[in-house]
Symmetry: none
Subunit: 185 residues, 4 copies
Amino acid sequence: MQKLNVKERIIETASHLFYFDGYNQTGINKIIEEAGVAKSSMYQHFRSKEDIAIVYLQRRHTAWSNNLLEFVSNKKNAVAKIAGSFDYLQEWLKEVEFRGCGFQNIITDLPKGQERITDQVRLHKNELLKWIDQLLAEEPKYKGNAKELANELMVLLEGAIILSQIQKDTWPIKAAKKAAEKILE
Amino acid sequence: MQKLNVKERIIETASHLFYFDGYNQTGINKIIEEAGVAKSSMYQHFRSKEDIAIVYLQRRHTAWSNNLLEFVSNKKNAVAKIAGSFDYLQEWLKEVEFRGCGFQNIITDLPKGQERITDQVRLHKNELLKWIDQLLAEEPKYKGNAKELANELMVLLEGAIILSQIQKDTWPIKAAKKAAEKILE
Amino acid sequence: MQKLNVKERIIETASHLFYFDGYNQTGINKIIEEAGVAKSSMYQHFRSKEDIAIVYLQRRHTAWSNNLLEFVSNKKNAVAKIAGSFDYLQEWLKEVEFRGCGFQNIITDLPKGQERITDQVRLHKNELLKWIDQLLAEEPKYKGNAKELANELMVLLEGAIILSQIQKDTWPIKAAKKAAEKILE
Amino acid sequence: MQKLNVKERIIETASHLFYFDGYNQTGINKIIEEAGVAKSSMYQHFRSKEDIAIVYLQRRHTAWSNNLLEFVSNKKNAVAKIAGSFDYLQEWLKEVEFRGCGFQNIITDLPKGQERITDQVRLHKNELLKWIDQLLAEEPKYKGNAKELANELMVLLEGAIILSQIQKDTWPIKAAKKAAEKILE
DNA sequence: AATGAATGAGCGTTCATTCAT
DNA sequence: GATGAATGAACGCTCATTCAT
């Protein structure tokens, strides 16, 4: 963490710690220490810890979404892309040792009145939902009830993530994928 | 919190705070203050904050499971009981203003090396899964693939809880219920 | 620690802990836990932690002195007995891994106003000094300056103990013995 | 304690308290209160209480050694310097009302696993021993057995300190000085 | 003679944030 | 744009002691 500029170093360090150690478990001191930055320099760039969290979530949203799109880019149709999404979950979650979703994880134990963070989480999930919805809407077969199906698939994705995190196992992802296939006939 | 004995008061107070404010957000000081107990009295009954969490989770498991069984007790068969489970989620989560699952919530931002808590969480989820599995196994129709279906339903339940918590809305529960019905034909 | 009566169990346990772990490092809770006794039972027998310390020191004085006398009992004269005293130090301190003198150790980091403990320590040292003094006074050769020589030997004994504790080695005891021999011609 | 900067104030205050009240008897709260410093300011400068102790001992070593050298600087030879050392003990210990040696005092009742402190103590004593050794080695008369004599004198110094602390009297120092003279002929 | 329950005060340490330069 | 110094509040936990039974 030495080549990048200060702000960037803070974001990268904090992001990694927030995700892997948890938001509450990550203190300001650890961030600045690992980033090799003075505390005041940090507060020059960010008003508060919450502010860093916002940037963390924004970047995570972009990166995660791009990775997903990339992962399913070679699939031909909506059904294949959605099936691929579960494969994506599996690859990702195994790699991070089932650390789960950074967005889910951050809302569950949050100091009161940090609405901006929860807003960011909702935004991320809504974008994902919209993507699925549009995917289905483009297929004649699902056009009539794309929204309904998207909601159901969304529940399966979220359930797969949190349950695999609890169980430290891929079976919930596999089960979710199978359920998704049934739902889409 | 005055009539009960000290230990009971601590458990009740802590349980409420752990669930509604979050485990990390709830300090020992808040617990003893609200319980009207001296700090040392608390440590006479519990070796650590983690120990209180264990009791909290054990009790929550019992209470939650009993409530579920009670809620679906008048349903005649497995399908009806499972459908009823989603209705139970809805009633419960609306009442707690979509605070989500105490077990899910506690694992996502936990100080390191608190395996006893994660064990307790897994125990709770495994019990629920077992219940669904047995329910289906008793029905001739699902006997052959009860385990597979139970896994899928479990994902739907978990997804419904976390997503309704994020969205502060019942739609994920409704979607999950509909998906469950499709899966069970 | 089960066969003895309560009071005895407390004394034995506390004595061992006070000596090997240190007086301040030994909490009441550890004593009662290891002794297998209720806290109130302990306070039935002893008004305070200081009171246990007094008994500990009294017993230690008796035991230690008896061991010394026993160790040098077969020596024929004052000089031999005094030389034997240094051998006794060596045997004892090696056995306790150079934990030093329980009396020296307890005075150096004591809560204020615990005069009864320091009195006990002085008593112990005065008894030892008196023994050396009398030993020498009985010998015609040293009769005239027994007190002076006793004081010097006493300093050597104390120095041997504390320095071997610091160095975790027997050399200070050996040096003290040699110095003692020189002093006694 | 107002003119100096924060770190210095902490060290000075802590040093005084550690020496005169004892290491265990001196809490962090007392240090910051007397130094007029916020608790967090203290932890900005020192990682732990143990760290303050290290600095305390390092400084004490330097000051104490310099005082000794200064005190005997006008003595012409080794014998005179060593005799002067006992006079130094007497002056010093009377002034501090026989509070004894800060290094001896801190090791006797130490929380477990604070090796850095005991290392510091041994360092101090080894330096003193080396000084005596070298002093004697320079004199033709003692050259052959400087090490042996130094060890014996060291025991006398340590014994003089601890025994005068117990007895609250100068007699052990005087006895030690006399014994030292005998040893050096 | 013995106990379980309860206590106030204090422990050493870390929190996220602000200040003057 | 960046820093070192400082802060009040809170953290989880342990201390020796006292109470009612």
